[in-house]
């Protein structure tokens, strides 16, 4: 690698800074949704069917009370989107958190103990990876809906979504952490801790874990984009968040029914926000991956 490319690597490119800023801005807006949004889209009493399907304020028939127009129930689209992106981020983040914790723990155990633990974890992972994410997630939601009548309610849908997404993603963490653990476990410092008689769990948590975490952070960032997309896809297909408590995907699903009547804004604005969010996370994730792994030279 030449000196020039080396120097460039250490400077954060403008596009990455911008993307990170957008991610932070969206997360802030989502976290502060109850305070910054003009209306509360979850309060059924606050919206009026008379205001349904109003176009955005900048159009001829627009109403300045509703900046980006209203949806089919007369909800202010801008407020609903703020609450929607909040739900999308919570579910996506929750899925990443669950998948990474399960994956890291199982990967540590498999890599450290080897033998049948390793065998079991890896074979289960193989079977799971032999099915596509979206199919597995749909199956889990489908099974949950067939088994529990209230699986589709606003209270339980997020829990099921988090589980349905995480069940596929943990394998990636487990595989990475297992490989790294196997390398670390043979190093002298780990042998030394074993010689002085520390218990296995303590060695794993205090000594090996910190040394295998950096790839986990990279995977988690890239995974967040994927998890938000999967949640949106499931909600779009009608097995995610219910219309009374919409995520961005649910809003796009609602809007899709109105595309033919020329009402484009219910679909367009949530879709654009979703794409901006996912793209920004992907840009940051891509850069992190190259940053932590100079061997890849910017390849996919």
């Amino acid at each position: 690698m030449s000196a020039a490319t080396h120097r460039r690597r250490w400077r954060v490119p403008l596009s990455v800074t911008a993307a990170a800023a957008i991610v932070v801005l969206i997360i802030l807006a989502a976290a502060l949704a109850p305070w910054v949004s003009p209306y509360n889209p979850l309060d059924i009493g606050s919206f009026d069917l008379m205001n349904a399907e109003l176009p955005p304020a900048f159009m001829v028939d627009g109403d300045w009370r509703f900046l980006l127009g209203t949806d089919n129930q007369g909800r202010d689209l801008f407020s609903t989107m703020l609450y929607g992106v909040r739900i999308s981020i919570v579910i996506g983040g929750g899925a990443v958190l669950l998948a990474s914790s399960v994956g890291v723990v199982l990967g540590l155990l498999a890599g450290y103990f080897g033998g049948w633990v390793d065998m079991l974890v890896m074979r289960v992972g193989d079977v799971i990876l032999s099915l596509p994410t979206i199919l597995l997630a749909l199956l889990i939601s489908g099974i949950a809906r067939a088994s529990f009548p209230n699986a589709g309610t606003a209270q339980w849908a997020p829990v099921i979504l988090v589980g349905a997404i995480a069940i596929h993603e943990w394998v990636q963490y487990a595989r990475t952490v297992r490989a790294a653990t196997m390398v670390e476990a043979r190093k002298d410092y780990v042998r030394a801790t074993r010689v002085i008689g520390l218990p296995g769990l303590r060695i794993m948590a205090r000594h090996i874990l910190p040394n295998v975490l950096s790839p986990v952070i990279v995977i988690a960032t890239i995974n967040l984009a994927g998890a938000v997309l999967t949640e949106a896809t499931l909600s779009f297909l009608g097995v995610g968040m219910p219309p009374t408590y919409p995520s961005l995907g649910t809003l796009i699903r609602i809007g899709n029914d109105f595309v033919f009547s020329g009402i484009w804004w219910i679909v367009a604005f949530p879709a654009v926000l979703l794409v901006i969010l996912v793209l920004s996370v992907n840009v940051v994730g891509d850069w992190l991956r190259d940053y932590f792994n100079p061997m890849r030279r910017g390849r996919s």
Binding site: V127, S130, L131, P132, I134, N256, W264, V275, R299, S300
Partner: protein, 323 residues
């Protein structure tokens, strides 16, 4: 080599058995088959009789055994929703999905390979950078958003192309095809592009990475030293070798493309297996869900295995040791 192939076969069988077990558990324990299949006013005695005739009172392992036997014979049970054999329903929907997947695969190869080569030949060029940026945008736009955008533009605003269904189809024995009529072909365009875009980025990035690797190898350097024309080096020597893994990955991706067609089929109301599956989820129609899982699992395992075994046969380095 023989042992490598046998152990690969055994592994494939094991995965298939695991998928069948998941399907069986769904079939047997998700919802109550007896409640779904009997009339509202059935007496307990009638229900018990149905339970017996379905074999639900036998030991679980025996039930699983007979389930595997029935699946192997192509008997996937009856749909709860419309009381027709699931195997027939799936067979009716198969051509629609397969034609969509074929069109998408051809499209993504036809666009992905040239752009990938272009990016590899001039990795720092302006076009390559633009394509790289576009590909990052490409993986960030979900399939259903692409589909809706295409419908909005080409069907709602421009009225150029149909936005739902397969158009007119021609029946050829058990297969129905949209390739032979004008409306059938027109209907394929938008869903085909939507599904292809999902695959396109992957193929492009793969071709680019492989091409860069191959162009860096010794035999290409010798070819350059001998003064062969650049066109011959790039397309006759480098591209051929770079395409090997592309062919493999394209093959492996067919399984996940079938599964991903669920989204495209929903957006375009395409009457394929994916739409059948989504409707089955809406109605808690477990036999159809289980059958779809079995089908996609089987496609995955079969394709994976064929690719692996072909590799063992082609590449002597893989014949010994690990499979």
């Amino acid at each position: 080599m023989f042992s490598a192939i046998t152990s690969r076969l055994a592994q494939a069988l094991l995965v298939m058995l695991a998928v069948t077990a998941i399907a069986f558990v769904m079939f047997r324990y998700v919802g109550d088959p007896v409640a779904m299949m009997s009339r509202e006013d059935a007496t307990p005695a009638e229900k018990a009789e149905l339970r017996h005739s379905l074999g639900l009172d036998r030991p679980v392992l025996v039930q699983f055994g007979s389930f595997v036997g029935r699946v192997a014979q192509g008997d996937l049970g009856m749909s709860f929703r419309n009381q027709r054999p699931v195997a027939t329903l799936m067979a009716e929907r198969l051509p629609a999905t397969m034609e969509l997947v074929i069109v998408a695969t051809i499209l993504s190869l036809a666009i992905g390979i040239p752009t990938g080569v272009l990016c590899a030949l001039h990795p720092e060029g302006r076009t390559a950078r633009l394509i790289q940026t576009l590909s990052l945008v490409g993986i960030s736009v979900p399939t259903f958003v692409t589909g809706i955008a295409l419908i909005l533009l080409f069907a709602v605003i421009l009225h150029w192309l149909p936005s739902f269904g397969r158009g007119d189809v021609v029946h050829l024995g058990f297969w129905t095809t949209g390739f032979l009529t004008r409306s059938g072909l027109e209907s394929l365009i938008l869903p085909g592009i939507t599904l292809a875009l999902y695959q396109l980025t992957l193929i492009m990035r793969l071709v680019r990475a492989e091409m860069i690797d191959v162009l860096d190898s010794d035999y290409i350097r010798f070819a350059r030293a001998r003064g062969l024309p650049a066109r011959d080096i790039h397309f006759r020597l480098a591209l051929r070798n770079a395409l090997m893994p592309v062919v493999t990955i394209t093959g492996l991706q067919i399984g996940s493309l079938i599964a991903f067609a669920i989204v495209t089929e929903t957006v375009f109301q395409w009457p394929g297996m994916g739409l059948l599956f989504i409707q089955a989820i809406g109605f808690a129609d477990v036999p159809v869900m289980a059958a779809y899982l079995l089908f996609v699992g089987f496609m995955f395992v079969a394709i994976n295995m064929i690719v692996d075994i072909t590799y063992t046969l082609i590449d002597p380095r893989l014949r010994t040791g690990r499979t």
